[in-house]
Subunit: 679 residues, 2 copies
């Protein structure tokens, strides 16, 4: 690439559009966009993308990991022809606008939601994994369907966060040559100079991870050096590349190089002087010279549309030459699962072997892996405990390691829960209907909460195989026994939190999780065996809550999940012997239950009958379904699991006693269902 005045004019335009957005909103971050405009311009100028078809699977990806610099991204999207108008830029950070304060996945051209630092670069690792897997699966000689690169810009913040260390270490191991990270080395964070807390040798650290590391010394102006570094990175096939780009935060501003320019609009005077400095009219805002539009149209939009059209033609030929793979890919690109896939979900009858729900989850993967090739998953180094690997699985590994191949679909994540979470989001965001899952002990989903929240907010339908879901962990003790975990994730909007009670409910959880388009799922699974229940079925369980076992005119309803459902069934027998009639309700997923029609929900949890919740974790959150709660609002104990259950009185007798007390407590009182709301 050779650069001329039009490139410099384009860069000035980007810079001033970003500054204007922040000033108009009187809120936001001008510093990073001013420093990073040249890098963004050079990167985008050689990226393969079609702004008129942002979902084109063969596009290069761009991730702005330092999401607070979003005004830069909005400028780029506008200038290159994505559906984002100057009016949208003028509504930056305003209620209901298309341009919120941090990038959100919903906007075409925004590859992932960023802002929580460290997520974006880790998402990019996931995209790079997906691209490698996609290419290894579908590329054929003469049919190079995918050769895209994943570009990421990140700042010091992203590299201080542990999540990026986890993902970057794995990226090095996996030799992801398609990943190019531009590290904005501007030596400034909110507290001041990075020298006060972050003087490690970042380049050396990334070399230690197995990355190629390059340095551009004058990122403010040296377009040739930026272009050269990117060109070099693209030829480095067996290593991810970090380009350390030394820039000046707030370049052009009177406050350039100072941390005060990070997160506050430029002053009026400063905004005027910077416009003058870059040859623009200081009295005008949101100025885009027509030649800049023309330039991007000629260098990005048009070539991108042409490349997309060429690819479409190639893919047509591909479908003829490779009818099976072609049909599969076409289906995946349409976001559809293979027809009839649900029929592979195992079902169970009462009396069949008692099994741990983690084992039942393994059986699901065993049954589905062949017919649903978009399933790609792994575990944070707990494969033999999470039971996440089907027998014939091939590990996703560089061929040269001898451990697997890039066409493999089982990922050895290492002990990196947070990184795994963000990588799953990235795999999902790549497209092609990828269905990523990851295994961990339920308690350690807390380590990944930051990434799980982004899944829920951005709507990545990833799946957490969260085994060892209660004090049933046993001897490992309270450090490993979840208490607050269900309450935590149930309170997170747009999150399925499944706690299945038997095999049919496990199948139901996966049925919903895999068909979900915009909602992540956590499937909490037992370490210990559970019986196959009378009354359970996939059809019932997908509703999130249902009457498992009923009686006429119940004296009490016991609502339970997971391992406490069979316990409650046993308790009901003890109660029956005492003449107390109990209905048993299983509530494996609050989110789906809440989506059912009111009539249905009230048929499960009606007025007039006391409802007792039984779940061996925190009772928090159960108020919306039950009047009284039997749970565990303290940390657990180390000991053999059956003894620990007994210690906390989670036995049929313990449940029955509390049910009886609940019945007596409400005797003679009028009771309405907790589902009834006043507004």
């Amino acid at each position: 690439m050779t650069f001329t005045d039009i490139d410099r004019l384009s860069i000035s335009t980007i810079r001033l559009l970003a500054a204007d957005q922040v000033s108009k909103a009187n809120s936001g971050h001008p510093g990073a966009p001013l420093g990073l405009a040249p890098a963004a311009h050079v990167i985008w100028s050689q990226m393969k993308m079609n702004p008129k078809n942002p979902d084109w699977i063969a596009r290069d990806r761009f991730v702005l990991s330092n999401g607070h610099a979003v005004a830069l991204l909005y400028s780029m999207l506008h200038l290159t022809g994505y559906p984002l108008s100057i009016e949208d830029l003028k509504h930056f950070r305003q209620l209901g606008s298309k341009t919120p304060g941090h990038p959100e996945f919903e906007l075409p051209g925004v590859e992932v939601t960023t802002g929580p630092l460290g997520q974006g670069i880790s998402n990019a690792v996931g995209m790079a994994i997906a691209q490698k897997q996609f290419a290894a699966t579908y590329n054929k000689p003469g049919f190079n369907l995918s050769d895209s690169f994943i570009y990421t810009i990140c700042g010091d913040g992203c590299l201080q966060e542990g999540i990026s260390s986890e993902a970057s270490s794995l990226a090095g191991h996996l030799q992801l040559g398609n990943l190019i990270v531009i590290y904005d080395d501007n030596r400034i964070t909110i507290d001041g100079s990075t020298a006060i807390s972050f003087d490690e040798d970042v380049a050396k650290r990334y070399e230690a991870y197995g990355w190629e590391v390059l340095h551009v010394e004058n990122g403010n102006e040296d377009l040739d050096a930026i272009a050269k570094a990117i060109a070099h990175a693209k030829t480095t096939v067996n290593k991810p590349t970090m380009i350390k780009l030394t820039t000046t935060i707030g370049y052009g501003s009177l406050k350039a190089g100072d941390h005060s320019v990070h997160g506050s609009p430029l002053s009026k005077d400063d905004l005027r002087q910077i416009k003058t400095k870059f040859g623009f009219n200081p009295d005008k805002s949101f100025q885009v010279p027509q030649e800049v539009y023309d330039h991007y149209q000629a260098t990005i939009l048009k070539p991108g549309q042409e490349a997309n059209a060429k690819w479409d033609a190639l893919f047509k030929q591909y479908q003829q030459k490779f009818p099976e793979l072609g049909a599969e890919l076409k289906r995946r690109l349409a976001g559809e699962l293979p027809e009839g896939w649900e029929s592979k979900l195992p079902t169970y009858k009462p009396g069949e072997s008692a099994l741990a729900t983690r084992k039942l989850s393994e059986i699901v993967f065993q049954h589905l892996n062949e017919s649903v090739p978009e399933i790609i998953g792994g575990s944070a180094d707990l494969t033999p405990s999470n039971l996440t690997r089907w027998k014939e699985a091939v590990d996703f590994q560089p061929d040269v390691t001898g451990f697997g191949s890039y066409a493999g679909r089982y990922i050895r994540y290492g002990i990196r829960e947070h990184g795994m979470g963000a990588i799953m989001n990235g795999i999902s965001a790549f497209g092609a209907n990828y269905k990523p899952y990851g295994g961990a002990f339920f308690n350690f989903l807390g380590y990944a909460a930051g990434a799980i929240r982004v899944s829920a907010l951005a709507g990545h339908p990833v799946i957490w195989v969260a085994t060892h879901d209660s004090i049933g962990v046993g001897e490992d003790g309270p450090t490993h026994q979840p208490i607050e975990s269900l309450a935590h994730f149930r309170a997170m909007p747009n999150t399925h939190v499944w706690r299945p009670a038997d095999g049919n409910e496990v199948s139901a959880a996966y049925k919903v999780a895999l068909t979900s388009k915009h909602t992540p799922s956590i499937v909490a699974l037992t370490r210990q065996n559970l019986p196959q229940l009378e009354g359970s079925s996939i059809e019932n369980a997908v509703k999130g809550g249902y009457v498992l076992q009923d009686v006429e005119n119940p004296d009490i309803i016991i609502a339970a999940t997971g391992s406490e459902v069979s316990l409650s069934v046993e308790a009901a027998k003890l109660l029956a012997a005492k003449g107390i009639k109990a209905r048993i309700v299983s509530l494996p997923d609050f989110l789906n239950f809440d989506k059912q029609p009111e009539e249905y929900r009230l048929s499960v949890l009606p007025d007039g009958v006391p409802i007792l919740s039984v779940e061996v974790l925190s009772t928090s959150g159960w108020g919306k379904y039950a009047h009284q709660h039997f749970g565990l609002n303290r940390f657990g104990e180390s000991g053999p699991a059956p003894q620990v259950f007994k210690y906390f009185d989670f036995t049929p007798e313990g449940v029955a006693t509390r049910a009886e007390k609940t019945v007596n407590f409400y005797k003679g009182k009028d009771l309405i269902s907790p589902l009834r709301t006043a507004f």
Copy 2:
């Protein structure tokens, strides 16, 4: 140190005691103890400690970061004279024993609770910070009150977790020469060889952090090399040291070097052969040769007791020579705050300036910093937003950096929330009544959830200054606006979750937080200004919940927290105009409210009156106090904060409307307080 047969016999004893514990429990992790016994022996043999006074402030610290290897630690504690008997070892992993499945802080000699990987090494960074701060504050020429080292053993798992990256990077910056980490390089994790997911160059990475890195090639047997490395590390004053110790997992076992020996007991035959191999009777268990006891008594217990006695004498002299500092330190070692410190807490009267509660929090630090020298805190790079730094604060920094001194009490944590959480736990665990606090946006406490859980479980009374506590964040949008955060941490046992409504409540939060001995506190604070309320006081608020404003025979009770309290007060005025009488209850901390006598709680939330909760986050968890809930069970929006509040109808009118609907809904119905429980 020179090593002889008695050292080798001691090491064999440690190995077999650990293997016996796991076999007797039929549960646990024999692999790491078998490989690490030599390192533990050599480290402990030169540590300064008094097993009869485990809290001696001048002791060296030992942290077992790979907590699953706890059988090793129990063996050491038993052999060196801590109060842990052979009987206790025989009850390893049994209910109610002193020897749970992972190390728990409560047991004398266990410096920190470990098991969740990466926490221990990060706690150790905190201890090293505390030791440096302690020494810089109290050491005087001729009075070397503290020169201790912090020893840590960790495995691959700890180093893969991002939290350790965060803490280690900071440790390098802070030049913590008192920190010595032994990295058990056994090349095995649960999934198999580290080669499948973790082949980065760990040594190079730690050098990049600014650490000294040494290598012991034969950690299984080469005691001299271990001792030499430790001796070298101790002379490295301006860098933390990592000793990469290459060992064989399960050394001595037939399964040595295989991942199957990581987490399962040795087979009976294997246990017999390993005992024979090490010269022990294969028919016996829990064997300790008397000469091993004698050896540890002579080399650890006795010298430790003598050193402790010498120190006691030195400290007596110190108190005479430096009466003020001496008295202060004596007080701190007794775990007492300075007399009358509470009188420095600011109080407010209605009508005084409206201020953001984050600002009111800053005022508390400004008022307390001088008289409470054990307060030590910082922010994860959000100082100007969290307002965590008092004006005169000196940064905790190595003198040579020119940014502060080791006597400083303000820590620049960098953008490392999880690391900060674990470091705070370590500072607290160091002793000397340190009161660590750390600032972050409330939403990003999710990044630190793993460490916060350990605070709660182990009982470290650390303080999170969690600002920007709702959609009041405004323009930064949903990535930065907490929704599930209150529900998450309120469901965590033993955790104060404060959401103060004005200045007096902020002071109350800090009063409880600073006096707390075994409970961490999260103080959720607003970005936006709030009025000083009629009816608030420190005395009321410390109870966690109280009647802020009352009326005779209320038609409704509105229970709110934080910014929604003043909103509810305004709503009550609108309701009064309609003839609806509302009591306003402020519930700034559920944990303390739940600890109040039932009579008091029922006086606040009595039978017979409908109760509406108002809080602009998830309603989950409010069922225990209110019948109806006005909250936000979805993600927020980017826009100016007042507009976002209005968008979600969180206005006086919006609250009043829902209150009225609640009153109408329950008209003519018998209502009992949600506090009433059946059992």
